[in-house]
Amino acid sequence: MTPRENGAAEVTTADLHVHPLTAPLNFIKGAPKMLLGLPAIYAMGVRNGRDWGVYGGFALVALVFALVAILFHWVTYRRFRYGVGAGEIVIESGLLTRTRRLIPFDRVQDVDIERGPLQRLFGLATVRIETGGGKSDEGVIDSVSLREADRLRDAVRAGRGSGAATAPFVMSSGNAPLFAMGLGRVLLAGLFNFSLVYLAGLFGILQTFDDFLPFDPYDPARWIGIAKGQIGGRFTAPALLAVLGVAATAGIVFGVLRTVATDYGFCLVTQGARLRRTRGLLTHSDVALPKRRVQLALISTGPVRRLLGWYELHLQTLGGAGTVGGRQPVAPLARADEIAAILAETGALRLPEAGTLQRVSRRHVLRTLLGTAVPALLAIALAAFFRTEALWALLAMPAFVATAFLSRRAHAYASSGDLLFVRRGLWQQKLWVLPVAKIQTVTITRSWLQRKLGLATLTIDTAGAPTLGGPAIVDLKLARAHALAEALGRRSSYSGRKSGTDR
């Protein structure tokens, strides 16, 4: 790599414009949306008795919109500039908010050249620069000539050095699968996937056919009337139990059917630098997960599964060209040793040793209680105003206290070597296994109550995560939170060769 000079780097000027045809092409692409208004305009005209003045007025308005659109595209074209510097690409854009985006070559994962039909007609192409951040962080240069697009791609690839040599595709020659699920296990997994989705199906059918029903299904008074008429003297405990039993059985059956449809023939194989997962009954899904793109592992389980020794393994991977991203199930139902074997294959991950996890502050109990018991008490007090029988619900309060204590026992973490382990959850327990090198940012959050109690929550952000649900250590003592954040930051910068989002 060419050595970089410390101190003032020369500023890259963004001096290149995209191809001038971009503005009219984008206008033409947007034009069909304006045509959508024509039927409405026609309907309005018909309603006003085919008054040609109305038509003329609307035509004028449409013309004004078209002119504004052309102006907008033209100004956007003028404002958009890009430039290639010594080690980076600079893109300047924006009408009101001017943004100057700087993408160093080393952060570029891939350069895609896309050509839509209109662009192909005029010899143009869109250059999409993918960085590790995912969709919103790309650099997009809309519509340059094909030659310029190739030049950009070569400049970026040259700037990155020899470029990462992709591992050749290794065909597995009869390897034993890393993990496979027979039909029996798929059915067992289905039993744990209780699903009430069939209720949604019923509502959907109701909605589709509501024009044909003899009554209005959305009128609640009607339903109550039917219920009163039908149930009347038949509202007995056995009848209610029977209905619940039918609903539960239907839920179980649908859960099993759904699981069989998705996970039939589940098979996980190692192929060189990637894991390959095949599954599915009707839609056969074949997915490759590059090992180096694995960001973290999530092992989850429920109360019954934990008793029986079954766990579920998901791997969070970074997407990219040709591979799927997000949280992928890698073992829907497996024993602990099978999970350990799969983790060993990924190279960096492993299960924590027993007894190494340390718990969070005891004040977590207090905060959980305040969060759950106090609203419950308020609800009971409110109900007690109307019916004093509600006070019997106070008998359930010890359960809240016990749950708070047990939740605190279930929440633990450990930072050992190059891995961070976080375990959380009393009923639905989750264990996160996270290489410190894959940590993107660490956030310490303190709510008002946490500030009073001297606590803090440590949240860890990784690449390719779904919107909700990342590893979080809740209610640490503040000093410990800072110490842990500092330790993680130190270790991640030692290992910071590439940004942790390896190719």
Binding site: M1, W448, A479
Partner: protein
Amino acid sequence: MIVYAAYAERATARAISCRVDRFGYGKRSVPSDVFTPLERGQLHVMRLRAFGVACLLGIAALALAVALRERFPAFPTAAILAPVALLLIYFVILAPQRRFRAWGYRLAGEELQVVHGVWTQVETHVPLARVQHVDVSQGPLERTLAVCRLVLHTAGTANSVVVIPGLARATAEAIRDEVRVRIGQSEE
């Protein structure tokens, strides 16, 4: 005696941990010896934005009061307008000040720490080696008040964008160049 000694030891430990707990975080503001505050212009940006929102809310409240007055002629419009006015005064005059003072950033070793938030304090640590790319951007309001925003893009999801608003252009570009140097260093 032993019991008393143990109690005293626990009390001192608690006192020490209390001191450590108040680790430089005041009730409302972030002390400037730990974190660098933002430029004063950002306070004006926040006030102007709050004023804009307050105008909209005020108009909505007025409309509601007028409508109620037409429906129920005896309804005292002051019952709606007074609390709304108080709320808007807090929103425009007091709240931006608190929010502004709660912002701070610090370049500490290999990472950039950004802290903000009045009720829920959020402190984000971004290792400079993890930054994908850096934007310096300025909206029209910020341009008139001579502040700009430093936007750090990381590969994360919840924190894929970390923003430090209210920086002078020179400061923002200095931090950006620092980040660029660190990105380069992390490759070698």
